[in-house]
Amino acid sequence: MFLSRIVLRDLDSIDSPVSMASSKKLVTRDEWERKLRDVKIRKEDMNRLVMNFLVTEGFVDAADKFRIESGTQPDIDLATITDRMEVKRAVQSGNVQEAIEKINDLNPTILDTNPQLYFHLQQQKLIELIRAGKINEALEFAQEELAPRGEENQAFLEEIEKTVTLLVFEDIKNCPYGELLDVSQRLKTASEVNAAILTSQSHEKDPKLPSLLKMLIWTQNQLDEKAAYPRINNFSTATLEDPAI
């Protein structure tokens, strides 16, 4: 958040003295770097951003090491990350029932108050049964567990229909809705689970760093219309590139 504010403030100071009608203001590398040096970013703030990322994404070991090294306290009990990651891993490896039970141990109100998530987990369970070729079991599960959810909600019904389509085809990888069997479907469900657990722990479900990066891109785009300046094009190295004149 503060990063973008700093850039915007600079933008003002660049903008004001310039009144050349068409040509953009040119900011040299030296000038730019001098300005950047003037910007004071507190180390603790940077550390908190990093910690927020590690915690939200569930890198528990890294978070713990980072805590020891930087002295930054996480805003959540690290033990809960381990639990959350176990749930996530269970979904990613297709053990949906295990995931459900772990979520319920963590906080029994999550799935009761989040019907969509519960449905998606049940749907994932059906997908896993189909993937394993347990056709009878899959049919029974669809009838007994999923059908009642479809009666409660039209959108769920459509999802069930798509999923059950998988049972009709022999070559399920290439049938319509075959993408349900992709790893990406598991990841989608896993990230939904992750977000729900985070919300139940009063934690924001997305880390702050990516949105900061988005703001940087937006700000650079805005700035491009007004000035030529050393731009960051490669976000993994964050090197400043000389302005093209």
Binding site: N104, P108, T109, D112, Y118, E145, S202, E204
Partner: protein, 714 residues
């Protein structure tokens, strides 16, 4: 006794829970010993699990060790299995309820030697039963869950405390949960101990209990006096979920209570208020919405402490932004906006100046009409159009108006209702109406179609819109007349539902207004005199009133229409006479007298017919005429209508009129009129430019009486 606080947890129990606890202890199913064959049968069907749980009851308590032994492990496993099956699964909950599993789960909680693990599982299962299924809530309450779970809030094991607090929160989410009486001193003390606990699950529970139980002003004042608002504000510093719960309960404490609201506004030199204002810019959308709702409640409860226009403008802006949020927040934001601007022209103008109409309608245009949000947005638009002409114009712009037409034809009844509300409020504008934008087939046809809707609320809403559109349709009434509306309106006027009858007759009345004679005949043919007369004698006086107003519009400006009233053996006139003699509601009398006045304006035949209503020619007539009462009525309009009627009876001067004057005089009517000139409540200055109508008519009646009876009787 479970109501004493056990030391470790630092909590307490419901002071009033003894009776509940006693009731709950009894149903624990207790077979004398656990049967090993049954407990080793590892099925997972609800029948088996329920049976196993019942068999296991008492297994853990035997040794007194609390948690040891196979029996206890088995019970924890069974409870956990049941819990995992029912969470999120309505069907399973109902199945277990039918099997009577709830008392068994609660019995496990009541077990003196129960292990923390068993208590956690049992509490979670009980909480889940209470979530989303009313029968579940009832079963859990009947089994004494509140008392047990409350007792467990003082358990030394934090996990047990967490599980119990969560389960209680589930229970208090339901409307069926008993109210927590904060007027009881001990209860209040207990609530305060909960609010002061470290455990956020417990403090959140306390906030939920307040939201659930606080709705009378004495309760609000009691909570305020106990310092609860201050404590809630302090808890804003906690986790996001806790803060949201506190905001919600703060709203409950403030709502509609001037005293609490103004005390809160001044609390800590306004710091508490500022902390809520700050939260309307919070990162979490839900928090922003709850903070807005709290401030809206505050501004309604105590307008004088909330005059800052800037904050209100901010509220409007924040709420308009929140509409873009997914889920409940985005759905409820338009409702909050509606509450905020309701009945305030100033705020509606402010909303309009922030482009509210455009933003709301653009959101509808950009998204499908498939959600609850469409309903709430349409209702907010309707509110914006309730008073402001400019809003109506904006909404009637090309794109948005097609949207409303789509909404009228939508499969969801609530969306149809909301669209009708929009049209009703737009059609309050005489300019929109006279521009003819609404009186075209594109709007009329779907509206008329809605008169056939299967949902009564849709029919009522459609009638509301048609009523308004009909008023000013003068040059274009034929569209409505030939749309098939009339026959359905007639049909609805015979409905069992009084609201439908009322609105249907009202719509007919408005269509009848200034209609050409041909149109009037057409409606009467559809309606029939017998229906009309039974509507005049309807069981509900508001229907009677509208029906008489309909007759009033019928005879107004259409001389021959009087035949409908006095023809057919005076069916209609007799019905009116019956109603007036029964002295019903003033509205009915007024409309009835206007009809009579209109009829009396006609020829001798008409005048005589009306005369017979006012002064029946019966030998045994002793009862004083109802007209006497009307002249003494407190209602000015009724006096005017009655005087008009009398005036029309004795005008113009002729022999027949003189005879009528004598008849009126004999019943004491004329002297009553004479008395009215000195009536203190009519003691208005005769010379003022705005001549009071009653007094004017009094003078006119008296002058004509003098003219008619030459020698004078005054």
């Amino acid at each position: 006794m479970p109501s004493t606080a056990s030391g470790g947890g630092g909590g307490g129990a419901w002071p009033e829970s003894e009776s509940e606890t006693a009731a709950a202890a009894s149903p624990s199913p207790s077979p004398s010993a656990s049967s090993p064959t049954a407990s080793y049968c590892m099925g997972s069907r609800p029948e088996e699990l329920t049976a196993r749980l019942a068999v296991n009851a008492g297994a853990g308590g035997g040794g007194g060790g609390g948690g040891g032994g196979d029996g206890e492990r088995e019970r924890v496993r069974t409870l956990r299995e049941i819990k995992n099956q029912i969470i999120g699964n309505r069907t399973k909950k109902l199945q277990y309820l039918r099997l009577g599993a709830v008392p068994a789960v609660l019995a496990a909680m009541a077990e003196p030697g129960a292990s923390p693990a068993a208590l956690v599982q049992a509490a979670a299962a009980a909480g889940s039963f209470a979530c989303g299924v009313d029968d579940g809530v009832r079963a859990v309450l009947e089994a004494g869950a509140v008392a047990h779970l409350t007792r467990l809030l003082a358990h030394p094991d934090e996990k047990v405390v967490d599980a119990s607090a969560r389960a209680l929160r589930m229970i208090y989410q339901s409307k069926l949960a008993p109210k927590f009486d904060v007027n009881n001193e001990k209860n209040m003390e207990f609530l305060l101990t909960l609010l002061n606990r470290e455990n956020e699950n417990v403090t959140e529970l306390a906030a939920n209990i307040i939201s659930h139980s606080c709705n009378s002003s004495t309760e609000q004042l009691a909570l305020c006096a106990a310092g609860v608002p201050q404590r809630l504000v302090n808890l804003f510093g906690g986790s996001m979920n806790l803060r949201d719960a506190c905001l919600h309960s703060m709203t409950a404490i403030i709502r509609n209570n001037w005293e609490v609201a103004s005390r809160f506004a001044l609390m800590d030199h306004g710091k508490a208020l500022c902390s809520i204002v700050a939260l309307i810019h919070d990162r979490s959308p839900r928090t922003r919405l709850l903070a807005c709702l709290c401030l809206i409640a505050l501004s309604h409860a105590s307008p004088c402490h909330f005059q800052d226009r800037q904050i209100k403008t901010k509220l409007i802006l924040v709420l308009l932004e929140l509409i873009e949020e997914p889920g409940h927040v985005g759905d409820d934001a338009p409702l909050a906006l509606t509450t905020l601007i309701k009945d305030s022209v100033e705020l509606q103008k402010q909303a309009l100046s922030t482009n509210a109409v455009l933003k709301l309608s653009n959101h509808l245009l950009a998204n499908s009409l498939e959600s609850r949000r469409a309903v709430t947005i349409l209702l907010a638009l309707a509110e914006l159009c309730s008073k402001l002409e400019e809003s109506r114009y904006q909404l009637m712009s090309v794109q948005a108006s097609t949207l409303i037409i789509d909404a009228l034809k939508h499969t969801c009844a609530d969306i149809r209702v909301a669209a009708c509300s929009c049209l009703k409020n737009i059609s309050r504008s005489s300019k929109v109406l006279s521009a003819g934008k609404l009186s075209c087939d594109t709007f009329i046809a779907p509206l008329v179609q809605l008169l056939y809707d299967s949902s009564t609320s849709v029919q009522v809403a459609a009638l509301g819109a048609i009523c308004n559109i009909a008023v000013n349709l003068t040059p274009r009434k034929s569209i409505l007349l030939h749309s098939g509306a009339v026959s359905q309106l007639v049909h609805l006027s015979k409905s069992m539902d009084p609201t439908l009858r009322l609105k249907a007759v009202w719509a007919l009345r408005n269509i009848m207004f200034l209609l050409n004679p041909k149109g009037k005949d057409f409606i009467l043919k559809e309606l029939t005199l017998s229906t009309l007369s039974s509507l005049i004698c309807d069981s509900e006086h508001f229907v009677q009133e509208q029906t008489l107003a309909l007759v009033h519009n019928l005879v107004d400006g259409y001389v021959d229409a009087v035949d409908y009233v006095i023809g057919d053996d005076c069916t209609i006139l007799n019905a009116i006479s019956r109603q007036l003699n029964n002295a019903p509601a003033p509205g009915v009398c007024i409309q009835g007298m206007f009809v009579l006045a209109n009829v009396a304006a006609g020829g001798e035949l008409n005048k005589e017919a009306v005369m017979n209503v006012l002064v029946p020619r019966r030998a045994d007539h002793i009862k004083s005429s109802f007209v006497l009462n009307f002249l003494q009525s407190k209602d000015k309009q009724l006096r005017v209508a009655t005087l008009w009627c009398i005036l029309n009876l004795i005008y113009p001067k002729c022999e027949a009129s003189s005879v009528r004057v004598v008849r009126l005089q004999n019943t004491g009517l004329i002297s009553q009129v004479k008395g009215m000139i000195n009536d203190p409540c009519l003691d208005c200055k005769v010379n003022t430019p705005r001549f009071p109508p009653v007094q004017l008519r009094v003078r006119m009646v008296l002058e004509h009486c003098l003219d008619n009876a030459d020698d004078g009787f005054m």
